[in-house]
């Protein structure tokens, strides 16, 4: 059964090649759509087969490596193209291909009529191929291939409508293109990738291999707890994660990435790619367990990102931007979980988040598709025109707000609980406040979009999206409801199936961390109640503020609001501190100043000097024989003099 693994990866590649090479010739949305979605569907079926096969096996036999070929070998270095199927990677594979398939199907409707239909599907397929390499790789280098590959697809898809303007909501008003957002995403990610790259060098130096098995099995024997080298490895890897998963300080690219078509935002910038950083840290759990300092950094960065992104989400008016900040914030939750040592909770939230956030984006896409508008101030009252979209969107909003028994409640609650029991009260408090903020901005979004006045032009006639779009919404809504049941904690009489499932993967890290579970059920119940309170309070506040007719559009004015609206001026600061000096400095100082004037000036100066000297030398050659004779005689005298007197 495990021998099927390469096909999981292969089919999206085939889809990419067919659509990429022949899509234009095929010139058929139907064929391109079927090939694009079908290949992912097949991958999902294969992954599911393997998964069910794994279920029937004892837990220690569930990890397998399938080698394909030797990729790079030079000197003592060697890396294979080989896939590792285990409890963690199969879970991610199921999410990637499953949610991916639904979004592909949805895209058939969403991208209908677009001139680049085939191109869109070929890029999506390439993305899935790269993402599968990322999660299934059995070594860091192949993971890095997927890592950079998904970044490329993100770049291509953000700038898919490359001649369109894009509202950055602040800096570069009115002049930014979607390709600016695309380029920003790629370059910011590359900064993170730089960290990943150096981390790989360090790992190879330490372990002599980049294979996960080699590295992780020897980690605790080769490195002591708190080892400096491991600290740097984990910190640099985390730098990579902050790029890919949009955490402080590299989160700035994700809100702009909303310039891409909405299915892209759902697939890449919500459900799958942005969780790659979480997956990677979880994969390296043993390394992080050996670096408590990095763990603390991860937890703090995660909590801080969760909070700050949520505050920025409070004031956004672009439906996708709100969701983007929400994604950044939710990713922060996942890192908080990882940072306090609860790798399972992090991965659990990756999964539930994939369901409800993909659903939110697809719902937003459905609205945009109907209204050709992204500004929620110009929406309102859409629930009667788009009932399915509304209901599914509402379910997702309730899920993300942490209302039981929807999926988000279980995964988020697990994180809050772990933040309290394994982290600190401060971390928990930040996460708890963020939970309230989350509920508030989500219901601000729901209410302004679907309830209240109709604030759009009467020439528009929004109606429900076609089946090909609503069916994926319904499936995702079902998953958003039930997805959490695999992680019902024992305090609620559940089995926490996901924890038991992932246990063998995180075993090493957990025994290294030796976490004490000294918290009573009572504390757990109190925390649970508090987080529900936060969610409900957020929703209630939003209803109070935005359900009244005349208050719908009130924008508070004030310094704090302005600060949030301008996203703490982070883009402006980066621009002024890094981008502008680099470009101006390179042009004025390095190129025109140093290269042209100084270096080339010296080169040409030497040539000129030789020319001038030759000119002088030429004057000696006067053509008068007596002068030559005189010089000749002087020369002889000098030479003789030297010979005599030396």
């Amino acid at each position: 059964m495990y021998s099927l693994t390469p096909y999981i990866v292969l089919f999206p590649l085939i889809g990419f090649l067919i659509n990429g090479l022949f899509g234009k010739k095929l010139n058929s949305e139907k064929l391109s759509g079927i090939i694009g979605s079908g290949t992912i569907g097949i991958s999902f079926v294969f992954a599911a087969l393997i998964f069910f096969n794994m279920l029937g096996q004892p837990s220690e036999e569930r990890s397998h490596i399938v080698s394909i070929f030797n990729w790079i070998a030079a000197g003592s270095f060697s890396a294979d193209v080989a896939y590792q199927v285990d409890q963690l990677s199969i879970l991610m594979t199921l999410v990637v291909t499953g949610v991916g398939f639904l979004i592909h199907v949805y895209s058939i409707g969403y991208m209908h009529g677009d001139a680049g239909f085939w191109r869109f599907f070929s890029y999506l397929n390439l993305f899935i191929f790269m993402m599968l390499n990322l999660v299934l790789a059995n070594n860091f280098l192949l993971m890095f291939l997927g890592w950079e590959g998904v970044g490329l697809c993100s770049f291509l898809l953000i700038g898919f409508w490359h001649d369109q303007k894009f509202d950055t909501g602040g800096y570069q008003p009115g002049s930014a293109m979607t390709t600016d957002a695309a380029k920003k995403a790629f370059i910011v990610n590359r900064i993170g990738d730089f960290g990943f790259l150096i981390a790989m060098f360090l790992i190879f130096n330490l372990f002599g291999s980049l294979k996960f098995d080699d590295v992780f099995s020897r980690a605790s024997s080769l490195a002591a707890l708190g080892d400096t080298a491991i600290f740097w490895v984990t910190l640099l890897l985390f730098l990579g994660a902050t790029g890919k998963s949009a955490q402080i300080p590299l989160f700035i690219w994700l809100p702009d990435a909303m310039a891409g078509p909405t299915p892209v935002s759902a697939l890449i910038h919500a459900a799958t790619m942005v969780t790659a950083g979480v997956y990677m840290v979880a994969r390296c759990s043993i390394l992080y367990a050996l670096a408590p300092a990095t763990m603390e950094i991860v937890a703090v960065v995660g909590a801080a990102t969760a909070f700050f992104a949520a505050t920025m989400g409070l004031v956004q008016n672009d439906i996708k931007k709100v969701l983007a900040y929400s994604t950044v914030s939710q990713l922060g939750y996942m890192f908080l979980a990882l940072g306090v040592g609860s790798f399972t909770a992090g991965i659990f939230h990756v999964m539930t988040h994939a369901f409800f956030k993909a659903l939110l984006f697809l719902g937003a896409g459905s609205v945009i598709h109907a209204l050709h508008e992204q500004d929620i101030q110009k929406m309102g009252g859409l629930k009667s025109a788009m009932p399915t979209t509304y209901k599914t969107f509402l379910i997702a909003a309730l899920a993300i707000a942490g209302i039981p028994p929807l999926s988000g409640f279980f995964s988020k609650d697990e994180i809050l609980f772990r933040a309290f029991s394994q982290g600190s009260t401060v971390l928990w408090l930040v996460a708890w406040v963020t939970a309230g903020l989350t509920a508030f901005y989500m219901f601000r979004l729901v209410l302004l979009t679907f309830e209240g006045d109709l604030r759009w032009s009467h020439e528009k006639h929004p109606h429900e999206s076609p089946k090909v779009m609503t069916v994926p919404l319904l499936v995702l809504a079902a998953l958003s409801v039930i997805g959490g049941f695999i992680g019902i904690p024992s305090s609620l009489g559940g089995e926490n199936a996901i924890e038991r499932w992932l246990e063998p993967v995180f075993q090493r890290a957990e025994s290294q961390l030796a976490l004490t579970q000294g918290v009573s059920y009572l504390t757990e119940y109190v925390l649970m109640a508090l987080s529900v309170v936060a969610g409900v309070a957020g929703i209630a506040l939003a209803r109070r503020m935005y359900l009244q007719k005349d208050r719908a559009l009130i924008q508070p004015k004030g310094a704090f609001y302005k600060l949030l609206w301008n996203k703490y001026y982070v883009d402006e600061v980066y621009d002024a501190a890094i981008v502008a000096p680099m470009v101006k400095g390179s042009e004025k100082l390095l190129w025109r100043g140093f290269d042209v004037a100084i270096i080339d000036g010296i080169v040409n100066g030497v040539a000129k000097l030789i020319g001038l000297l030759s000119d002088q030398l030429r004057k000696i050659q006067v053509g008068v024989a007596q002068t030559y004779a005189l010089a000749f005689v002087i020369g002889i005298i000098v030479v003789l003099g030297i010979l005599v007197f030396r």
Partner: protein, 511 residues
């Protein structure tokens, strides 16, 4: 298999002489003949490739004929894994470059074709020579056709650029000539020795030369090669030469000529003067790292596409030099494959810029925008080639850069900072290439002059497809090529490493 290398070297030359007899009035016949001849050369090189035994560390296909017996100068040729890859790159790129200039060279087609063929002979000769004197002859001979290619078929400022290129390189090579003569003379001073320029003999003499003398020889060789590479700060001839050179000239110049510098470092500097290499290595590697970052930053702010690509070469070749002076197998293997990679990706970048230039007669980035609309196929090729140059995993550039940086990081001769600083060049490569791509290809067609541009023709596709195939091949399965040079690399590394062991042994043990 009789003198296969000799056939390979002189086939283009003889072909060039034959073309002399062609009538001027029929330029197409001349073009076809030129392409056919270089294709035959490619086939001959493939025969060499197939016959090459990668596991043999020595020189293969050797052939030696005494030339000037009193000085022990001989016509001696042979190849190892390193020369093989570069010879293949040369024979691969020459027909492509000639096909690419089918429409862009209109005047003096005959002379152009002959010059291209002469150039090919010169380059292959450089890579195959096992005699320093012979090497020097080819090294200088190849300057002449390149000089004319820039000077006759170049842009507005071609004479300045051609002379600068010629004089600058000449200056370096004169120092090398002195070093060659000194080296031969030194060999004659050995007991029972005589003056020689035989490389394989000198390999045993060179390392024994006392550091005080060896140092000057090493520096003379290195300066000559550094100018050719070009290593920062000896690079300023390159942007001028590229901007003025015709497309075919740029392709060969960037694709192959620059590698003669890095090839020289590996073929001569390291094995002949290992002690000096180790001593000066960190300084040269530092210049290489500066070049990586500096070239990238200056490239970023260029307004002319060709100049941008030219400066990016300074950055990319910096990687190659860094790999060489890491003295590790990983680093040097990376450098070798990166020489090929740079030839492919930068060659293709120049081809594409040339294709755009053929249509618009300008290369200013600001003149363009939205070409994806009118030239979608070209845009796709441009994207793949840019990604290759950026070092995206799965394409060729990554393999080279990764191995180089890994090698430099692990090197016992260099601090880890070299590698970490150079790795920022990977970020910057994305900046300058994607920014150019965005300004030229993406967006709306704002300039009416671009409104009706034709997408690339079948001929132009034929030019680009083979390069793209290799870009993917090397990226996915580099083993084909890495294994050709691995034995050679191991040999070079062992020579330098044994020198270090020797150095360590010289330090008196503490008592």
């Amino acid at each position: 298999m009789l003198h296969l290398l000799t056939i390979l070297i002189f086939l283009p030359l003889i072909g060039g002489l034959l073309i002399l007899f062609f009538k001027k009035g029929n330029p197409n016949a001349i073009k076809i003949a030129g392409i056919a001849l270089s294709t035959v050369t490619l086939i001959v090189s493939l025969i060499v490739y197939v016959g090459f035994d990668a596991s043999n560390p020595g020189m293969q296909f050797t052939h030696k004929t005494v030339w000037i017996s009193s000085f022990d100068i001989s016509y001696s040729v042979g190849i190892d894994g390193m020369s093989l890859l570069l010879v293949m790159l040369t024979t691969f790129l020459t027909p492509i470059a000639m096909l690419s200039s089918w429409n862009s060279i209109e005047k003096r087609v005959k002379e152009f074709t002959i010059m291209m063929l002469l150039l090919e002979t010169g380059i292959i000769g450089v890579f195959c020579s096992l005699d320093l004197f012979l090497f020097y002859i080819f090294w200088e001979a190849m300057l002449i056709p390149m000089y004319f290619l820039i000077g006759i078929w170049g842009g507005e400022n071609r004479i300045y650029a051609a002379i600068k290129f010629f004089v600058y390189t000449m200056f370096g090579s004169l120092l090398m000539l002195i070093a060659i003569l000194w080296l031969g003379y030194y060999a004659s001073m050995q007991p029972g020795g005589q003056f020689t320029t035989d490389l394989l003999q000198l390999y045993t003499v060179g390392p024994t030369i006392p550091f005080a003398i060896q140092m000057w020889m090493f520096l003379a060789f290195t300066l000559s090669f550094a100018i050719k590479v070009p290593l920062f700060p000896f690079h300023t001839w390159l942007p001028d030469a590229h901007v003025e050179a015709p497309t075919a000239g740029s392709v060969i110049l960037a694709g192959v000529l620059l590698k003669m510098g890095t090839y020289g470092l590996l073929r001569f500097c390291l094995p002949l003067f290992p002690q000096s290499s180790v001593k000066f290595g960190p300084y040269i590697a530092a210049l290489a790292v500066v070049g990586v970052i500096y070239g990238a930053l200056v490239s970023m702010v260029q307004t002319d596409m060709k100049k941008l690509v030219a400066y990016s070469s300074v950055s990319h070749l910096g990687f190659v030099v860094l790999g060489i002076f890491s003295f590790t197998e990983e680093g040097i293997q990376g450098s070798m494959i990166q020489m090929v990679n740079h030839g492919l990706s930068t060659g293709a970048l120049f081809l594409i810029v040339g294709m755009i230039y053929d249509r618009r007669h300008t290369r200013m980035i600001s003149e363009f925008g939205g070409l994806a609309k009118v030239m979608p196929l070209m845009s796709t090729f441009f994207m793949i080639v840019s990604l290759s140059s950026i070092g995206l995993p799965g394409l060729n550039g990554f393999i080279g850069e990764f191995l180089i940086l890994l090698g430099a990081f692990r090197s016992t001769f260099l601090s880890q900072w070299y590698s970490m600083l150079a790795a920022t060049g990977v970020i910057l490569a994305a900046v300058y290439l994607l920014w150019m791509y965005q300004r030229v290809i993406f967006g709306k067609v704002t300039n009416p002059a671009n409104q009706s541009l034709q997408d690339i023709s079948t001929r132009e596709i034929v030019v680009l497809v083979p390069i793209v195939l290799f870009i993917v091949w090397i990226g996915v399965y580099p083993g084909t090529f890495l294994q050709q040079s691995s034995t050679t690399t191991r040999h070079i590394v062992s020579v330098v490493q044994s020198q270090r062991a020797h150095d360590v042994a010289l330090i008196p043990a503490p008592k």
